[in-house]
């Protein structure tokens, strides 16, 4: 009973709270990082150095008027933000945050579930999230959202192919679809897959930016062309749900990058004995640190790179990344077969 219900529920509550708080503060971090890049101060008024800014923002979003356009499809309009947010959050179910720890003498693995199809589960969940964006664009019954929704979904579908193909190379390298086994394989190999599969990491990084609709691929919400894209007509808490989902998705792709390419919860140099001191740090802290470093790269890229044009984006995806990913699979498979003899 305790193993079946209570412990998973506690884990879910902790993960959910952690994710939501991280999302709130990721927004602040983004504003601060952008400000520092541009030699500004960023939010400074609410609390010391603006640390209470997210709370003020959430309060503001809660009490804003919630408008539904008259000609909108009401049910779909209400449902769309939920469809976007739910997949972003349930993807955390298969992400291993740390090794097994023992609390009060009871071994507790720091993950919600270890599915044997973990990586595919992530792909499946991500593919459902696209519906929310298309439906948000369609149900608003307005030009800019429709165009933004179409752009977003075309972009996400295109780049999903490339990203999923990089997963195949990681699966080939590790021999398993389970996130836990992938981390274990990196420990057994003694090297992060970032060094074994640099090409896959590159494709994943570009694809992750495009799939989360982040700069330089933030075309679905290119302000100069589309106002705010698919969420133009949304306001108040429903808009906040889109916002939450975008940042939750950033955390998901960073956490997956950590797991697949940067050794997940393993400390740096997991097989070098004289660095054993590093084992004193709990495994989940390594995971969080790595994930945040990747998130920082997201913010850094946004502050640095200009936006792509739409045809350039599609050309990059279909004519460069997908062929490269397929070639990478062939090479990885050939090397794997050659090594097994």
């Amino acid at each position: 009973m305790i193993d079946l219900l209570v412990i998973p529920l506690i884990k879910i509550v902790i993960v959910l709270t952690g994710v939501l708080v991280t999302v709130m503060y990721l927004v602040l971090l983004e504003r601060k990082v952008q400000a520092w890049v541009q030699v500004r101060l960023g939010p400074m008024r609410v609390g010391p150095h603006g640390v209470l800014q997210p709370i003020a923002d959430v309060l503001k979003l809660f009490i804003k008027e919630d408008i539904t356009p008259v000609r909108a499809d009401k049910y779909v309009f209400t449902l769309a933000p939920i469809i976007v947010l739910v997949p972003a959050i349930i993807a955390f179910a298969v992400i291993p945050f740390g090794d097994t720890v023992s609390i009060f003498g009871k071994p507790i693995p720091l993950r919600i579930a270890d599915l044997n199809v973990g990586l595919l589960y992530v792909v499946a969940v991500a593919s459902i999230g696209i519906y929310g964006i298309i439906l948000a664009g369609w149900s608003s019954n307005s030009k800019y959202p429709l165009l933004g929704g179409l752009r977003a979904s075309a972009q996400m579908i295109s780049y999903e192919v490339a990203v999923t193909l990089t997963f195949v190379t990681v699966i080939l390298a590790s021999g398993s679809l389970s996130m836990v086994d992938i981390v274990a394989a990196q420990k057994a190999n003694g090297v992060w897959f970032a060094f074994v599969q640099p090409v896959a990491l590159f494709i994943y990084a570009v694809g992750a930016l495009a799939e989360t609709n982040r700069s330089p691929f933030d075309l679905p919400e290119a302000e100069q062309e589309l106002v705010a894209g698919f969420h133009t007509e949304y306001s108040g808490m429903r808009f906040a749900l889109f916002f939450l989902a975008e940042y939750a998705n950033m955390i998901v792709v960073s956490a997956i990058a950590t797991t697949l390419f940067f050794g997940g919860w393993l400390r740096p140099f997991p097989n070098v004995a004289f660095l054993g001191v590093l084992d004193l740090v709990p495994t989940w802290i390594w995971f969080v640190v790595k994930t945040f470093l990747i998130l920082y790269v997201f913010l850094w890229i946004r502050a640095t790179l200009p936006r792509y044009r739409y045809d350039q984006l599609m050309r990059l995806g279909w004519k460069f990344l997908i062929p490269l990913a397929i070639a990478n699979i062939l090479v990885t498979a050939a090397v794997k077969v050659a090594l097994s003899y």
Partner: protein, 169 residues
């Protein structure tokens, strides 16, 4: 007991959403019900211990094919309900013919079952927790030819789509 209860609940949902798919007025609503239906079917696979099949069901059908349907429907923008046949008598006759064909088909299946009952199925191989490896093994050994044929078929469809889209090749 629990398994049966879960099965019948899921089956009821699948049929219910199936009915909603064909009765919904708006095409977009009908597509959304179809997605929910596919998700419940995936749950049915999980119940059978076929996680791989369940995830593939979501990725391919719910996440891939239906998104393309939605694209088409949104771009075509069906504002009016699809036109039904003007002549009431012809509409009735058409419906009659279609339902008779369906009935005959179902009847034939039932009759065939009584004429030559299927041989008892070989006991299902126990699906271990690692059914991804098992599915892969089966696809590349026992079912290699159908698998390759299916991939050929998809390739042909892909080439066909490109030819249709670009006349000036």
């Amino acid at each position: 007991m629990g398994q049966a209860l879960a099965f019948y609940t899921l089956a009821a949902f699948i049929l219910g959403f199936g009915v909603l798919v064909i009765t919904a007025r708006s095409t977009v609503h009908s597509i959304m019900f179809l997605v929910v239906d596919f998700l419940f079917i995936a749950a049915l696979y999980v119940l059978q211990g076929a996680q791989f099949l369940a995830v593939i069901q979501v990725v391919v059908y719910a996440g891939g094919i239906v998104v393309l349907y939605l694209f088409v429907v949104m771009l075509v923008n069906l504002k009016r309900p699809p036109e039904i046949h003007k002549d009431r008598r012809r509409r009735g006759r058409l419906g009659m013919v279609v339902s008779l064909v369906l009935l005959a088909e179902l009847g034939a299946i039932v009759a065939y079952k009584y004429v030559s009952p299927a041989a008892a199925l070989p006991p299902a191989r126990p699906m271990g927790p690692d059914n991804v490896a098992q599915v892969g093994m089966l696809l590349y050994t026992d079912f290699l030819v159908p698998f390759e044929l299916a991939s050929m078929l998809l390739l042909v469809a892909m080439v066909g789509a490109i030819v249709l889209a670009r006349r000036d090749l």
